[in-house]
């Protein structure tokens, strides 16, 4: 396999989350991929769209359904130098959520800002 060109200019890579936290393991898999990606010195950001904003909720207790809590892992993102964390404004408002309900400081984006964010990326990984 080809090796990652680590000396090249960092590429802007956006991870887009679209799934609710526990109905499938895709939310966990997206987080694992994001943490793995943090080792490669790229310009990473992450966006929570639609049902995925539920991944960010405080006070998750999925132990009762045999799952590990995403809310226990998400707060480590800034320690992995992942600080560009975004949530969709309408996804929060239609679910009656505010940034005070979330485990991470996120920047809330409207539709136009999301379009601009996506347009500025070198690659998008959608989960």
């Amino acid at each position: 396999m080809k090796e990652t060109p680590t000396t090249a200019t960092p590429k802007k890579i956006l991870f887009v989350n679209t799934k609710a936290p526990y109905g499938s393991s895709l939310a966990r898999d997206a987080l694992d991929a994001l943490l793995a990606a943090s080792a490669y010195e790229q310009d990473l950001s992450v966006l929570f769209l639609g049902e995925a904003v539920f991944q960010l909720l405080r006070n998750q207790n999925p132990k009762d359904i045999g799952m590990k809590s995403l809310a226990a892992t998400l707060p480590v993102l800034p320690m992995y130098d992942i600080t560009q964390i975004y949530a969709q404004e309408s996804a929060l408002s239609t679910r009656g959520l505010s940034i005070d309900d979330l485990v991470l400081p996120v920047k809330v984006l409207g539709a136009d800002e999301i379009a601009a964010l996506m347009g500025s990326q070198g690659a998008i990984l959608s989960f």
């Binding site: 396999m1 060109p5 799934k19 499938s24 895709l26 694992d32 793995a36 990606a37 690659a123």
Partner: protein, 130 residues
């Protein structure tokens, strides 16, 4: 154009691998360079050599193998997703003392870094599967 593909869906139960294959095949036949197909989440089932679909249905694993051979494509399976779902190569089968291995020829098991590497080294990374 340099392309990579991520597949998150299992064959038969999801349309993802069918769509991914058709996209891959079309891109290659149009002269694009498909660097890697990365199988993650339920997509790792695409690599199973023990799946026996009826003869008149799509032979998913063989089809990926043939395409990879013809166009020199990396077929990479995420190790964490694969081990969770019982997709193992000889090395992992020995490590965990399993009865058999079932990773199809031409596929290789590697880490999630290969997904990021695909995003970095390709002009487009196209995801299939949800």
């Amino acid at each position: 154009m340099k392309l990579s593909i991520a597949v998150y869906g299992a064959p038969h139960s999801s349309e993802a691998s069918e769509s991914a294959y058709r996209f891959a095949s079309a891109a290659c036949s149009m002269g694009h360079s498909l660097i890697r197909v990365f199988f993650y989440h339920d997509g790792v089932h695409n690599a199973s050599s023990l799946a026996i679909p009826p003869q008149d249905e799509t032979q998913t694993t063989q089809r990926w193998q043939a395409l990879a051979l013809e166009f020199n494509i990396d077929l990479v399976v995420c190790v964490a997703a694969a081990l969770r779902r019982g997709i193992v190569n000889t090395e992992e089968a020995e490590r965990y003392d399993l009865e058999s291995q079932n990773l199809g020829k031409g596929f290789e098991i590697s880490g999630l870094g290969q997904l990021l590497d695909a995003a970095v080294s390709s002009e487009r990374l196209v995801s299939f599967g949800h």
